[in-house]
Symmetry: C2
Subunit: 198 residues, 2 copies
DNA sequence: TACATATGTTAGCGTCTCTAACTTTGGCAA
DNA sequence: TTGCCAAAGTTAGAGACGCTAACATATGTA
Protein backbone atom coordinates (compact mmCIF):
# COMPACT_ATOMS: atom_id res chain seq x y z
CA UNK A 1 0.00 0.00 0.00
CA UNK A 2 2.83 2.35 0.85
CA UNK A 3 4.97 1.19 -2.07
CA UNK A 4 5.67 3.78 -4.76
CA UNK A 5 4.05 2.85 -7.98
CA UNK A 6 5.74 3.65 -11.27
CA UNK A 7 2.66 3.81 -13.43
CA UNK A 8 0.33 6.71 -13.70
CA UNK A 9 -2.48 4.30 -13.06
CA UNK A 10 -2.60 2.38 -9.87
CA UNK A 11 -4.09 -0.93 -10.80
CA UNK A 12 -6.73 -1.21 -8.15
CA UNK A 13 -6.79 2.05 -6.24
CA UNK A 14 -10.23 1.45 -4.86
CA UNK A 15 -9.13 -1.69 -3.05
CA UNK A 16 -5.91 0.01 -1.97
CA UNK A 17 -7.81 2.90 -0.47
CA UNK A 18 -10.26 0.64 1.31
CA UNK A 19 -7.40 -1.27 2.90
CA UNK A 20 -5.59 1.95 3.85
CA UNK A 21 -8.81 3.29 5.31
CA UNK A 22 -9.37 0.12 7.28
CA UNK A 23 -5.91 0.33 8.80
CA UNK A 24 -6.29 4.01 9.66
CA UNK A 25 -9.68 3.40 11.20
CA UNK A 26 -8.06 0.87 13.50
CA UNK A 27 -5.11 3.12 14.29
CA UNK A 28 -6.94 6.37 14.92
CA UNK A 29 -10.61 5.49 15.16
CA UNK A 30 -13.38 6.17 12.62
CA UNK A 31 -13.70 9.82 13.68
CA UNK A 32 -9.98 10.64 13.50
CA UNK A 33 -9.55 8.98 10.11
CA UNK A 34 -8.71 11.40 7.30
CA UNK A 35 -8.96 10.95 3.55
CA UNK A 36 -5.63 12.71 3.19
CA UNK A 37 -3.93 10.09 5.37
CA UNK A 38 -5.38 7.30 3.29
CA UNK A 39 -4.07 9.02 0.14
CA UNK A 40 -0.58 9.26 1.58
CA UNK A 41 -0.71 5.57 2.52
CA UNK A 42 -1.84 4.62 -0.97
CA UNK A 43 0.66 6.98 -2.59
CA UNK A 44 -1.81 9.06 -4.58
CA UNK A 45 -2.97 12.67 -4.60
CA UNK A 46 -5.74 13.80 -2.29
CA UNK A 47 -8.14 14.15 -5.21
CA UNK A 48 -7.76 10.57 -6.41
CA UNK A 49 -10.31 8.93 -4.06
CA UNK A 50 -13.10 10.99 -5.57
CA UNK A 51 -12.91 8.93 -8.77
CA UNK A 52 -14.02 5.93 -6.68
CA UNK A 53 -16.05 7.35 -3.80
CA UNK A 54 -18.48 10.22 -3.52
CA UNK A 55 -17.09 11.36 -0.20
CA UNK A 56 -15.27 10.42 3.00
CA UNK A 57 -18.32 8.66 4.42
CA UNK A 58 -18.52 6.39 1.43
CA UNK A 59 -14.95 5.24 2.01
CA UNK A 60 -15.88 4.34 5.57
CA UNK A 61 -19.00 2.61 4.30
CA UNK A 62 -16.87 0.41 2.05
CA UNK A 63 -14.70 -0.58 5.01
CA UNK A 64 -17.85 -1.28 6.95
CA UNK A 65 -19.28 -3.55 4.26
CA UNK A 66 -16.06 -5.49 3.93
CA UNK A 67 -15.78 -5.78 7.70
CA UNK A 68 -19.28 -7.16 8.03
CA UNK A 69 -18.41 -9.79 5.46
CA UNK A 70 -15.43 -10.86 7.59
CA UNK A 71 -17.64 -10.77 10.66
CA UNK A 72 -20.06 -13.14 8.95
CA UNK A 73 -17.28 -15.54 8.03
CA UNK A 74 -15.95 -15.55 11.59
CA UNK A 75 -19.34 -16.27 13.09
CA UNK A 76 -20.05 -19.00 10.57
CA UNK A 77 -16.72 -20.53 11.47
CA UNK A 78 -17.61 -20.41 15.15
CA UNK A 79 -20.70 -22.59 14.80
CA UNK A 80 -19.40 -24.81 12.01
CA UNK A 81 -19.10 -28.43 13.03
CA UNK A 82 -20.96 -27.97 16.30
CA UNK A 83 -24.39 -29.45 16.87
CA UNK A 84 -26.84 -26.75 15.71
CA UNK A 85 -28.62 -25.22 18.64
CA UNK A 86 -26.24 -26.63 21.21
CA UNK A 87 -25.26 -24.43 24.12
CA UNK A 88 -21.69 -24.77 22.93
CA UNK A 89 -22.51 -23.44 19.46
CA UNK A 90 -24.39 -20.46 20.86
CA UNK A 91 -21.64 -19.77 23.37
CA UNK A 92 -18.97 -19.90 20.67
CA UNK A 93 -21.02 -17.54 18.55
CA UNK A 94 -21.01 -15.05 21.40
CA UNK A 95 -17.28 -15.46 21.83
CA UNK A 96 -16.77 -14.85 18.11
CA UNK A 97 -18.78 -11.65 18.44
CA UNK A 98 -16.57 -10.42 21.28
CA UNK A 99 -13.44 -11.55 19.46
CA UNK A 100 -14.30 -9.50 16.40
CA UNK A 101 -15.15 -6.43 18.44
CA UNK A 102 -11.92 -6.53 20.41
CA UNK A 103 -9.63 -7.44 17.51
CA UNK A 104 -11.11 -4.84 15.15
CA UNK A 105 -12.66 -2.20 17.39
CA UNK A 106 -12.50 0.47 14.71
CA UNK A 107 -14.42 -1.56 12.16
CA UNK A 108 -16.80 -2.83 14.83
CA UNK A 109 -17.59 0.70 15.95
CA UNK A 110 -18.06 1.71 12.32
CA UNK A 111 -20.40 -1.18 11.60
CA UNK A 112 -22.73 -0.33 14.44
CA UNK A 113 -22.54 3.43 14.40
CA UNK A 114 -22.82 4.10 10.70
CA UNK A 115 -26.56 3.53 10.33
CA UNK A 116 -27.41 7.06 11.31
CA UNK A 117 -24.98 8.59 8.80
CA UNK A 118 -25.85 6.61 5.71
CA UNK A 119 -29.26 5.83 7.01
CA UNK A 120 -30.78 2.76 5.56
CA UNK A 121 -28.01 1.78 3.18
CA UNK A 122 -29.57 -1.32 1.66
CA UNK A 123 -26.41 -3.39 1.45
CA UNK A 124 -25.37 -2.74 5.04
CA UNK A 125 -28.83 -3.57 6.33
CA UNK A 126 -28.87 -6.78 4.34
CA UNK A 127 -25.51 -7.85 5.71
CA UNK A 128 -26.69 -7.05 9.19
CA UNK A 129 -29.73 -9.24 8.79
CA UNK A 130 -27.63 -12.05 7.41
CA UNK A 131 -25.24 -11.85 10.36
CA UNK A 132 -28.08 -11.77 12.86
CA UNK A 133 -29.67 -14.70 11.03
CA UNK A 134 -26.90 -16.99 12.24
CA UNK A 135 -27.92 -16.38 15.84
CA UNK A 136 -31.62 -16.62 15.08
CA UNK A 137 -31.31 -20.07 13.50
CA UNK A 138 -29.12 -21.32 16.35
CA UNK A 139 -31.62 -20.18 18.94
CA UNK A 140 -34.48 -21.70 16.94
CA UNK A 141 -32.59 -24.99 16.83
CA UNK A 142 -31.95 -24.72 20.57
CA UNK A 143 -35.70 -24.56 21.07
CA UNK A 144 -36.26 -27.42 18.66
CA UNK A 145 -37.94 -25.24 16.09
CA UNK A 146 -37.50 -24.81 12.37
CA UNK A 147 -38.99 -21.36 12.10
CA UNK A 148 -38.34 -18.06 13.83
CA UNK A 149 -41.24 -17.36 16.19
CA UNK A 150 -41.61 -14.66 18.78
CA UNK A 151 -39.95 -16.63 21.52
CA UNK A 152 -36.91 -17.23 19.36
CA UNK A 153 -36.73 -13.54 18.55
CA UNK A 154 -36.95 -12.61 22.23
CA UNK A 155 -34.18 -14.89 23.41
CA UNK A 156 -31.90 -14.20 20.47
CA UNK A 157 -32.29 -10.48 21.02
CA UNK A 158 -31.43 -10.81 24.70
CA UNK A 159 -28.25 -12.67 23.78
CA UNK A 160 -27.41 -10.02 21.23
CA UNK A 161 -27.77 -7.17 23.71
CA UNK A 162 -25.47 -8.96 26.14
CA UNK A 163 -22.59 -9.63 23.76
CA UNK A 164 -23.08 -6.23 22.13
CA UNK A 165 -22.96 -4.44 25.46
CA UNK A 166 -19.96 -6.43 26.60
CA UNK A 167 -18.17 -5.64 23.34
CA UNK A 168 -18.56 -1.91 23.85
CA UNK A 169 -17.62 -2.04 27.51
CA UNK A 170 -14.47 -3.91 26.51
CA UNK A 171 -13.34 -1.70 23.64
CA UNK A 172 -14.19 1.48 25.54
CA UNK A 173 -12.10 0.15 28.38
CA UNK A 174 -14.82 0.48 30.96
CA UNK A 175 -13.91 -2.84 32.57
CA UNK A 176 -10.42 -1.66 33.40
CA UNK A 177 -11.62 1.85 34.24
CA UNK A 178 -14.05 0.42 36.81
CA UNK A 179 -11.30 -1.83 38.20
CA UNK A 180 -13.30 -4.94 37.34
CA UNK A 181 -11.62 -8.21 36.70
CA UNK A 182 -13.59 -10.42 34.51
CA UNK A 183 -13.40 -13.87 33.03
CA UNK A 184 -15.11 -13.24 29.74
CA UNK A 185 -15.65 -16.90 28.91
CA UNK A 186 -17.32 -17.63 32.20
CA UNK A 187 -19.39 -14.49 32.02
CA UNK A 188 -20.67 -15.31 28.53
CA UNK A 189 -21.24 -18.96 29.29
CA UNK A 190 -23.19 -18.42 32.51
CA UNK A 191 -25.36 -15.66 31.15
CA UNK A 192 -26.03 -17.37 27.84
CA UNK A 193 -27.43 -20.21 29.90
CA UNK A 194 -29.47 -17.84 32.08
CA UNK A 195 -30.92 -15.92 29.15
CA UNK A 196 -31.95 -19.12 27.38
CA UNK A 197 -33.39 -20.72 30.49
CA UNK A 198 -36.99 -21.25 31.55
CA UNK B 1 -26.94 31.27 24.08
CA UNK B 2 -27.65 32.78 20.70
CA UNK B 3 -28.44 36.20 22.14
CA UNK B 4 -26.15 39.05 21.18
CA UNK B 5 -24.29 40.34 24.13
CA UNK B 6 -23.47 44.04 24.39
CA UNK B 7 -20.50 43.74 26.64
CA UNK B 8 -17.02 42.84 25.60
CA UNK B 9 -17.09 40.22 28.30
CA UNK B 10 -19.61 37.47 28.18
CA UNK B 11 -20.40 36.79 31.79
CA UNK B 12 -19.99 33.06 31.82
CA UNK B 13 -18.66 32.02 28.47
CA UNK B 14 -17.43 28.69 29.72
CA UNK B 15 -20.92 27.60 30.73
CA UNK B 16 -22.35 29.07 27.54
CA UNK B 17 -19.92 27.11 25.42
CA UNK B 18 -20.57 23.89 27.30
CA UNK B 19 -24.30 24.26 26.73
CA UNK B 20 -23.81 25.13 23.06
CA UNK B 21 -21.50 22.15 22.71
CA UNK B 22 -24.02 19.86 24.37
CA UNK B 23 -26.74 20.95 21.98
CA UNK B 24 -24.53 20.54 18.94
CA UNK B 25 -23.41 17.11 20.10
CA UNK B 26 -27.04 16.08 20.17
CA UNK B 27 -27.82 17.66 16.82
CA UNK B 28 -24.84 16.44 14.84
CA UNK B 29 -23.17 13.80 16.97
CA UNK B 30 -19.89 14.05 18.88
CA UNK B 31 -17.79 13.52 15.75
CA UNK B 32 -19.57 16.15 13.62
CA UNK B 33 -19.43 18.77 16.35
CA UNK B 34 -17.20 21.75 15.53
CA UNK B 35 -15.74 24.38 17.83
CA UNK B 36 -16.61 27.02 15.27
CA UNK B 37 -20.29 26.10 15.44
CA UNK B 38 -20.25 26.39 19.20
CA UNK B 39 -18.65 29.83 18.88
CA UNK B 40 -21.35 31.01 16.52
CA UNK B 41 -24.02 29.71 18.88
CA UNK B 42 -22.43 31.51 21.82
CA UNK B 43 -21.83 34.66 19.77
CA UNK B 44 -18.06 34.84 20.23
CA UNK B 45 -15.02 34.62 18.01
CA UNK B 46 -13.50 31.25 17.19
CA UNK B 47 -10.51 31.96 19.39
CA UNK B 48 -12.52 32.64 22.53
CA UNK B 49 -12.93 29.01 23.69
CA UNK B 50 -9.19 28.62 24.08
CA UNK B 51 -9.27 30.89 27.14
CA UNK B 52 -11.38 28.22 28.85
CA UNK B 53 -10.40 24.93 27.23
CA UNK B 54 -7.13 23.55 25.95
CA UNK B 55 -8.70 22.07 22.86
CA UNK B 56 -11.84 20.69 21.22
CA UNK B 57 -11.63 17.44 23.16
CA UNK B 58 -11.67 19.28 26.43
CA UNK B 59 -14.92 20.96 25.47
CA UNK B 60 -16.44 17.56 24.81
CA UNK B 61 -15.02 16.31 28.08
CA UNK B 62 -16.81 19.08 29.94
CA UNK B 63 -20.10 18.10 28.31
CA UNK B 64 -19.38 14.52 29.24
CA UNK B 65 -18.76 15.36 32.90
CA UNK B 66 -21.92 17.40 33.16
CA UNK B 67 -23.88 14.67 31.40
CA UNK B 68 -22.68 12.01 33.79
CA UNK B 69 -23.82 14.15 36.67
CA UNK B 70 -27.31 14.31 35.16
CA UNK B 71 -27.15 10.58 34.51
CA UNK B 72 -26.40 10.03 38.19
CA UNK B 73 -29.32 12.18 39.28
CA UNK B 74 -31.69 10.33 36.96
CA UNK B 75 -30.62 6.93 38.21
CA UNK B 76 -30.84 8.02 41.83
CA UNK B 77 -34.34 9.26 41.14
CA UNK B 78 -35.26 5.91 39.61
CA UNK B 79 -34.52 3.92 42.76
CA UNK B 80 -35.59 6.57 45.25
CA UNK B 81 -38.53 5.52 47.34
CA UNK B 82 -38.44 1.90 46.18
CA UNK B 83 -37.44 -0.92 48.50
CA UNK B 84 -33.64 -1.25 48.06
CA UNK B 85 -32.78 -4.41 46.23
CA UNK B 86 -36.31 -5.02 45.02
CA UNK B 87 -36.77 -6.31 41.50
CA UNK B 88 -38.76 -3.16 40.81
CA UNK B 89 -35.92 -0.88 41.86
CA UNK B 90 -33.40 -2.75 39.72
CA UNK B 91 -35.79 -2.81 36.79
CA UNK B 92 -36.42 0.92 37.06
CA UNK B 93 -32.70 1.53 37.21
CA UNK B 94 -32.34 -0.29 33.92
CA UNK B 95 -35.16 1.72 32.41
CA UNK B 96 -33.52 4.95 33.56
CA UNK B 97 -30.31 3.84 31.84
CA UNK B 98 -32.15 3.26 28.56
CA UNK B 99 -34.10 6.49 28.96
CA UNK B 100 -30.93 8.54 29.30
CA UNK B 101 -29.29 6.84 26.33
CA UNK B 102 -32.27 7.42 24.06
CA UNK B 103 -33.07 10.94 25.18
CA UNK B 104 -29.45 12.13 25.01
CA UNK B 105 -27.74 9.79 22.57
CA UNK B 106 -24.97 12.26 21.81
CA UNK B 107 -23.96 12.71 25.42
CA UNK B 108 -24.40 9.00 26.09
CA UNK B 109 -22.10 8.12 23.22
CA UNK B 110 -19.63 10.69 24.43
CA UNK B 111 -19.67 9.37 27.98
CA UNK B 112 -18.83 5.85 26.93
CA UNK B 113 -16.53 6.50 24.04
CA UNK B 114 -14.37 9.21 25.48
CA UNK B 115 -12.16 7.05 27.70
CA UNK B 116 -9.75 6.24 24.91
CA UNK B 117 -9.30 9.89 23.95
CA UNK B 118 -8.71 11.43 27.34
CA UNK B 119 -7.57 8.15 28.74
CA UNK B 120 -7.90 7.88 32.45
CA UNK B 121 -9.30 11.29 33.17
CA UNK B 122 -9.65 11.04 36.92
CA UNK B 123 -12.92 12.94 37.23
CA UNK B 124 -14.69 10.97 34.52
CA UNK B 125 -13.56 7.68 35.98
CA UNK B 126 -14.74 8.72 39.41
CA UNK B 127 -18.15 9.69 38.13
CA UNK B 128 -18.38 6.40 36.29
CA UNK B 129 -17.67 4.47 39.46
CA UNK B 130 -20.20 6.48 41.37
CA UNK B 131 -22.86 5.81 38.75
CA UNK B 132 -22.07 2.10 38.67
CA UNK B 133 -22.15 2.08 42.46
CA UNK B 134 -25.89 2.63 42.42
CA UNK B 135 -26.40 -0.66 40.61
CA UNK B 136 -23.86 -2.49 42.77
CA UNK B 137 -25.58 -1.55 46.01
CA UNK B 138 -29.00 -2.46 44.62
CA UNK B 139 -27.78 -5.89 43.55
CA UNK B 140 -26.08 -6.40 46.91
CA UNK B 141 -29.35 -5.55 48.65
CA UNK B 142 -31.17 -7.93 46.33
CA UNK B 143 -28.89 -10.69 47.54
CA UNK B 144 -29.34 -9.60 51.14
CA UNK B 145 -25.75 -8.45 51.49
CA UNK B 146 -24.17 -5.29 52.83
CA UNK B 147 -20.90 -5.59 50.96
CA UNK B 148 -19.95 -6.05 47.35
CA UNK B 149 -18.66 -9.58 46.89
CA UNK B 150 -17.79 -11.44 43.73
CA UNK B 151 -21.30 -12.71 43.15
CA UNK B 152 -22.70 -9.20 43.37
CA UNK B 153 -20.10 -7.99 40.90
CA UNK B 154 -20.95 -10.79 38.47
CA UNK B 155 -24.67 -10.22 38.45
CA UNK B 156 -24.44 -6.45 38.38
CA UNK B 157 -22.04 -6.61 35.47
CA UNK B 158 -24.37 -8.90 33.54
CA UNK B 159 -27.19 -6.41 34.04
CA UNK B 160 -24.94 -3.58 32.93
CA UNK B 161 -23.95 -5.31 29.69
CA UNK B 162 -27.60 -5.93 28.88
CA UNK B 163 -28.86 -2.37 29.31
CA UNK B 164 -25.69 -0.98 27.76
CA UNK B 165 -26.03 -3.19 24.71
CA UNK B 166 -29.71 -2.41 24.37
CA UNK B 167 -28.97 1.31 24.61
CA UNK B 168 -26.55 1.17 21.70
CA UNK B 169 -28.79 -1.03 19.60
CA UNK B 170 -31.58 1.50 20.16
CA UNK B 171 -29.66 4.69 19.42
CA UNK B 172 -27.89 3.12 16.43
CA UNK B 173 -31.30 2.15 15.15
CA UNK B 174 -30.48 -1.51 14.79
CA UNK B 175 -33.85 -2.59 16.12
CA UNK B 176 -35.69 -0.82 13.33
CA UNK B 177 -33.05 -1.77 10.77
CA UNK B 178 -33.49 -5.45 11.61
CA UNK B 179 -37.28 -5.05 11.45
CA UNK B 180 -37.63 -6.08 15.09
CA UNK B 181 -40.50 -4.95 17.17
CA UNK B 182 -39.70 -4.84 20.76
CA UNK B 183 -41.41 -4.08 24.03
CA UNK B 184 -38.50 -2.59 25.90
CA UNK B 185 -40.14 -2.78 29.31
CA UNK B 186 -40.96 -6.45 28.96
CA UNK B 187 -37.55 -7.21 27.57
CA UNK B 188 -35.75 -5.51 30.44
CA UNK B 189 -38.06 -6.92 33.08
CA UNK B 190 -37.84 -10.54 31.90
CA UNK B 191 -34.10 -10.53 31.41
CA UNK B 192 -33.35 -8.68 34.62
CA UNK B 193 -35.15 -11.51 36.36
CA UNK B 194 -33.27 -14.15 34.36
CA UNK B 195 -29.87 -12.61 34.98
CA UNK B 196 -30.50 -12.32 38.71
CA UNK B 197 -31.91 -15.84 39.02
CA UNK B 198 -30.39 -19.01 40.48
C1' DT C 1 -7.10 55.75 40.51
C1' DA C 2 -3.64 52.75 38.37
C1' DC C 3 -2.53 48.66 36.83
C1' DA C 4 -2.29 43.46 36.56
C1' DT C 5 -4.89 39.88 35.02
C1' DA C 6 -8.61 37.65 32.93
C1' DT C 7 -10.99 37.37 28.89
C1' DG C 8 -12.17 38.88 24.76
C1' DT C 9 -10.65 40.13 19.39
C1' DT C 10 -8.29 39.90 14.73
C1' DA C 11 -5.04 37.79 11.69
C1' DG C 12 -3.07 33.97 10.02
C1' DC C 13 -0.82 29.14 9.58
C1' DG C 14 -1.39 24.49 8.41
C1' DT C 15 -4.69 20.93 7.50
C1' DC C 16 -8.80 19.06 5.89
C1' DT C 17 -12.73 17.84 2.35
C1' DC C 18 -14.12 18.35 -1.99
C1' DT C 19 -14.38 20.46 -6.91
C1' DA C 20 -12.80 22.12 -11.46
C1' DA C 21 -9.87 21.81 -15.08
C1' DC C 22 -6.20 19.49 -17.08
C1' DT C 23 -3.26 15.09 -18.28
C1' DT C 24 -2.14 10.44 -18.96
C1' DT C 25 -3.24 5.87 -20.16
C1' DG C 26 -5.49 1.58 -21.71
C1' DG C 27 -8.76 -0.50 -24.62
C1' DC C 28 -11.39 -0.79 -28.67
C1' DA C 29 -13.09 0.27 -33.47
C1' DA C 30 -11.81 1.20 -37.98
C1' DT D 1 -1.59 -0.32 -36.52
C1' DT D 2 -3.49 3.72 -35.47
C1' DG D 3 -6.66 7.12 -33.52
C1' DC D 4 -9.76 8.38 -30.26
C1' DC D 5 -12.70 8.10 -26.04
C1' DA D 6 -13.47 7.17 -21.44
C1' DA D 7 -11.39 5.99 -17.13
C1' DA D 8 -8.49 7.34 -13.73
C1' DG D 9 -4.91 9.93 -12.47
C1' DT D 10 -2.90 15.08 -11.59
C1' DT D 11 -2.48 20.12 -9.87
C1' DA D 12 -4.63 24.22 -8.09
C1' DG D 13 -7.62 26.24 -5.22
C1' DA D 14 -12.05 27.44 -2.46
C1' DG D 15 -13.97 27.29 1.88
C1' DA D 16 -14.13 25.36 6.67
C1' DC D 17 -11.78 24.06 10.68
C1' DG D 18 -8.42 23.78 14.87
C1' DC D 19 -5.40 26.32 17.11
C1' DT D 20 -1.79 30.13 18.16
C1' DA D 21 0.26 34.77 18.50
C1' DA D 22 -0.29 39.38 19.15
C1' DC D 23 -3.26 42.83 20.42
C1' DA D 24 -7.46 45.08 23.00
C1' DT D 25 -10.60 45.75 26.73
C1' DA D 26 -12.79 45.17 30.97
C1' DT D 27 -12.61 44.13 36.07
C1' DG D 28 -11.15 43.69 40.70
C1' DT D 29 -7.92 45.09 43.96
C1' DA D 30 -3.84 47.75 46.07
Amino acid sequence: MTGKRENYHHGDLRAGLVEATRQLVEEKGPDRFSVADACRAAGVSTAAPYRHFNDRDEMLLAVCAEGMERFYTNMQGAVAGKPPGSLEAIFDLGMAYIAFATSEPGVFRLSFGIAREHEKDAEIIERGKRNYGILLSQVAAFQGKTEIDEQVLDRAFALWTMVHGLSFLLIDEKITAMDLQLNIETMIRDNTRRLLAE
